[in-house]
């Protein structure tokens, strides 16, 4: 069974309030660790530490304490789920099981943990809901008939969950909203894409919804609340990424360029390209997940 240490021990560790270094985590599907970089890594320095081991990591997320959540396969063919690690490449925490399909991307909202699967073998795909304090099994499940493949999840300041998926019928991207993380979902029609493939979603401090789209002209579409108007702005990416993350001060946005094996930094919200770093990142390792603490 997956490793599952005492919740009390782990959570006690993770709730520390001491100042933490600003780090950017990067996961690569074919790597066995999640690498952490100094957040403003203009000098292309090597990772400062690594969390692991992990098996087939996909999307990653951090909570407000800096704990790391990685959608993974458990080593030794012991299933799939979420592996957790204490801040700053700390020790492993509890795991959360995903028995339905391929875990793709987690998001944390207080004591609630969400995990979208990419494909559970049958439509529609799901978002599993966990209570971090209630063990390793999901306590709920969200879905929508229009969802094809689940790519990303994010929660805004109102605790509404947003799920980026392909449309089950068109194959193009869309975002589905679950008010307060509850059914039923509602497709945000303003996010309909007519080409490309969806990536992840994230929010800035103003609750703007950022929707990453992988396409011949990769971009981040930015929608202002209540997300029913056309994109307020668009950031053109120099190369495709599945996931992006905002720096802690939200003055930069980092996207993991899987084609070139680099973290590309852009000014936020202007979208001006700033720099890239590649140290320790290999495109052949399928870089995919990115998160900051």
């Amino acid at each position: 069974m997956p490793h599952s240490p005492s919740l009390a021990i782990w959570m006690g560790f993770a709730r520390g309030t001491a100042a933490r270094p600003k780090l950017t985590y990067v996961s690569e599907f074919d790597a066995t660790t999640v690498s952490a970089y100094t957040s403003d890594n203009r000098k292309n320095e090597a990772p400062v530490c690594q969390s692991g081991s992990v098996h087939d990591p996909e999307g990653i997320a951090t909570d407000r304490f800096g704990n790391l959540y990685a959608a993974v396969g458990f080593s030794g063919f012991r299933g799939y789920g979420i592996a957790t690690f204490a801040p700053s490449c700390g020790k492993a925490g509890p795991t959360f099981n995903e028995d339905l399909g391929l875990p793709e991307d987690p998001a944390v909202d207080g004591r609630t943990l969400y995990l979208t699967n990419l494909d559970n073998g049958s439509l529609p795909v799901t978002v599993l809901v966990y209570n971090i304090d209630a063990g390793s099994q999901p306590v709920g499940e969200l879905t929508d008939p229009s969802a094809g493949e689940g790519l990303g999840v994010a929660v805004n300041s109102h605790h509404d969950l947003f799920w980026s998926t392909t449309n089950a019928l068109t194959g193009h991207g869309q975002v589905i909203e679950f008010r307060k993380g509850r059914l039923p979902g509602r497709v945000l029609k303003a996010t309909f894409m007519n080409s490309g493939f969806p990536g992840g979603v994230l929010f800035d401090k103003s609750d703007n919804l950022l929707f990453v789209v992988q396409a011949s002209a990769p971009a981040i579409y930015i929608f202002a609340p209540p997300y029913d108007a056309p994109p307020a702005s668009t950031i053109s990416l120099k190369a495709s990424a599945v996931y992006c993350t905002l720096s802690v001060d939200q003055r930069q946005i980092f996207c993991l360029d899987y084609s070139n094996g680099s973290v590309d930094a852009y000014a936020y919200p202007k979208g001006t390209y700033l720099y890239s770093y590649t140290s320790g990142i290999e495109s052949s390792e399928d870089p995919i997940g990115i998160a900051v603490q």
């Binding site: 229009s146 089950a168 008010r179 039923p184 979902g185 509602r186 309909f192 579409y221 202002a224």
Partner: protein, 607 residues
Amino acid sequence: MKSFARLVALALLTGCAGAPPQLGPPMLLGQSVAPAKGGDLLYVTTPDETWIFTFPKGKFVGNFGVTGAQNPCSDRNGNVFIPQYGPDDIVEIAHGGEAPIATLDDTGEVPESCSSDPTTGNLAVANFGFASAPGNVAIYQNAQGTPALYSDSAIYYYWFCGYDDRGNLFVDGINHSGSPVFAELPRRGGTFRNITLNERIKKPGSVQWDGTYITITDERARAIDRVKVSGSRGTIVGTTMLDGWRTSRRGEQSWLQGGTAIVSPDAHNLRQIGFWPYPAGGNPTKIITGYFGGTFYVDGETVSVASGGQSWMSPTAKAIRELLYVSDWATDKVFVYNYATGSPVGTLAGFKEPFGQCVDKAGDVWIADYEGLAVVEYAHGGSKPMKRLTTDGFPVGCSIDPATGNLAVGNDAASGAGDIEIWKNASGSPADYSNEACYRLWQPGYDSAGNLYAEVETKHFARGVCEIPAGATSLATISTDATIDFPGGVMWDGKYITLSDQQALSTDGDITAIYQAKRTGSGLRIVGSTDLYLGCEHNYDVDVVAPFIVGTKNTPANNKQGTVVAGANVWCPSTFEYWAYPAGGRFSSELTAAPVEPYGQSVSISE
């Protein structure tokens, strides 16, 4: 796809005092139930199901599967259109049906909502748009074929559209900044005209004609605004507040039915439909709940008016000089068109197998209601009957005496010989005329002298002609040199009385022939003929029931031979043709939006 697997016993659940009755499914009995076709129906869409209820009672009828359903609409014939995102199409469902009878392609778009033009039958579809590309409005002529696309540079996302009674299309949506936009695509205009409202709509919702005003639902204000439009300005002249409507503001549709009721999704848990009084507003009077599944939400609804339910007529119809009326057995309706353009302008309902027709000097139209056992009079362009005269048999057709204004009706009998009934001045009680030699009768016709003729069949199927001469009191046979194989009806063409034969032989097979005849001392002598060729397929039989000869005046007043024959080949469903007269030959043109099963027609000319 379909799953009428639920037979649901309904319970009327009343909550606390003042709460609306709630209709829900307390139990499932696992039996199939087919939709009722006889009454008005409410269609409610969730993304993967369409739910049918009776309207206005709200009794569950059935449900069937759809794919990516958005906001539906219905047309004047009760057909329901369901836009589907994913398949990128609009499926058309007949009233009471569950299988599509047609599918309109909308590839590459996001069909969001629709509206049917009451004057033409055109279908407008609001295509929402994409994050990377704005939407548009697609208009399918006669709800068929490839659409014409219209876009307004001020609108990025298109939400709802609605036609008014004159065929002007109104749309709402939001611009690039997310601000509401309201615009009109005029009936004869090819470009949008943006309309500035005197008050701001916070969250634009449904657009629909309420019979007097175009209305816009404001989802954030939970209200329906009535808008008077003048040029590029719109004035909100009234507002209906929907108390208790907990909308999610995500583009749920509201629907006005008959200008008297509101059907609107209630987003309290996104699985309810509420009925509000309109235009009074206030609290809902009824809520349908519990049918719409656990993971899905209600997107939209429409009311499909049953066949035989309601008549309608464009306000412009009266001003159109020539109107074509076509009886349709398939729908039990009479469809009315602008004769010059072929555009639909109205529908007359309430018939049971409408059959032959005739017009009087003033242009009033008389329609034989075969199973309804009556003849019904409508004013030129009118939507309500002026008079209904009960017949003693099954009426097949009629004619107006040009000299007296008397109305003659030929009737089939349930048993025994048919008869002709004549109403003096088309009112009062009729005089009956029958003769065993005139056992079965087709549509009769007066000549200019007031002699009445009818093609007939004896009890033993010999065909001939019977006559009531002007001033006579009996129906009798009259000799003719015409050979009639299968009668089609008699009519005055402005110069001659005409007999028609649906089964005249030619080298191309059976055709319909119209024989021009003169009254002589010995009977009816044929002086000419018109052959009607070509139906839906070459060399196919051409059987036209009661071909109508169109002149420059209404039949009883017409003293100049007509130039066009209008009629339908009964072998070719959904077609209606025009032939040159008296030349005949191949049909010269067709009616684009023809009824399915035409069995009688007339052209009324306003005087």
